[in-house]
Amino acid sequence: MTEGEAAPPADSDAPEAAAPAALAQWTKSDRQIRREADLRRRARRSTSIATASTIVVATAVVVAVTASPGWPRVQEAFFNPSQFAAAFPDVWRGFLLNVKIFLIAELLILIIGLVVALVRTLRSPVFFPLRAAAVFYTDVFRGIPTILLIYLIGFGIPALELQGAPNDPVTLGIIALVLSYGAYVAEVFRSGIESVHPSQRAAARSLALSHGQTMRYVVVPQAVRRVIPPLLNDFVSLQKDTALVSVLGPLEALRQASIHASSTFNYAPYLCAALLFIALTVPMARLTDHLAARTARRQMAGGHL
């Protein structure tokens, strides 16, 4: 007991007495310097191992592919630079159409998704038909493969010969994509809305905000912030699915590539289209990762969303 009182560890008592001063005077102990040197040595070793194993794997893949019996033919068919260059302007022009389809569809999908999700939160019996329609819509359109839906809409609607019905393949393709992705995005929004804690709703209702006002000012703003990463993920998928519209005939990237490919029997134009899609989706994927990481960080810090 006397020992404990006589010789308290100096550093445990010091902060009590003069905390800011003690912090300011901190110099790294030898133990910490040794620990950090150790950590640096380990980090260097991890980097060298990672580099070495990447080189080994990459070499093995290249050797295996180029040593395969069919390689010369594949090289000629897919990696022919002159064919690539010849097809690029057309494929690029087609790709701009993909981007246009994507941008228009994305906007409409966000609107339809949010509306369907909100309709599903309505509780009043008056809205039963609307609610039932929303459930029916998400069930049906999530169930149909996108390419099948593009065929059905793209060839079905013009066949009806309705007055005023669109028959332009790009418009029909956009409608099909919007119907298909709208169902997914509605479910993403709905899960976001349901993830907002009921106590938030109780607080808003206790202030006499109506259901609509509670949704608009309290629930949806929090829900949208939470679902941004999964939404972007769906949009990465939508970007490449714009190529499916090619089955209806508009001159988008995949169509242009296949026109070139069928006239020259060379597949380099496909590679060209693929690279353009990658160039669009990779930045989007990185943005998604970045936003997801930021959300996680904020939640860890207990921050507001």
Binding site: A202, A203, L207
Partner: protein, 247 residues
Amino acid sequence: MSLLTVEGVWKNYHHHSVLRGIDLEVAPHEVVCLIGASGSGKSTLLRCVNLLETIDDGAIYLDGSDITEVRTDPDDVRRRIGMVFQSYNLFPHMTVLDNVTLAPRKVHKTRPDQAEAEARELLARFGLADKADEYPDRLSGGQQQRVAIVRSLATQPRLLLLDEVTSALDPTLVTEVLAVIRELKDAGMTMIIATHEMGFARDIADTVCFLEGGVLLEHGSPEQIFTTPAHPRTRGFLQRVLDADRL
């Protein structure tokens, strides 16, 4: 005439009755404290008064009109009643000022500049003037709860319901919230307070009600309940609280 009358209110959850025929009268400017163990029905009673829960039997009258009648507009009732929750429930995506002015602007259609001026005045009154533009997560629990109280006051309610508002707080932060409630009492606010703070209840209440198993077993002045409780179960509860304090 009493401001609020609760008459034979029952509330069931899955064949289990949480409230079993509660009767309660609250006069204007009266402060009623509800005490009792967790699960005794205090919170449920407050949520029923605010129509966040639908009652299964009985009636509740506010200013003489039956608010549990089927045709009542719940939003009209809630415009006259403020509620503060145990876990503050501030809106995390809004600043303190927006939290406070949301209901005045959107429900009571106050002009935004007027709503802001009134909110800043209220915040200043409760020592939160410099927090108006902060987000809730930058505030301590005590500050958040004071903001929640200010938010419920901004619509000038006739009655304030406080649901264990200090239970989520660090003991050192409890006093700042209790001081706010005391100030409200001095200003004449009618309040129903569910609480575990017996000393506070004794100090601030005009009437103390003891609930157990969904039954209002006993009510009376604080002196009567805390010094000469009539019901043996009230005595038992207070004894347990005392024992817990001694530990």
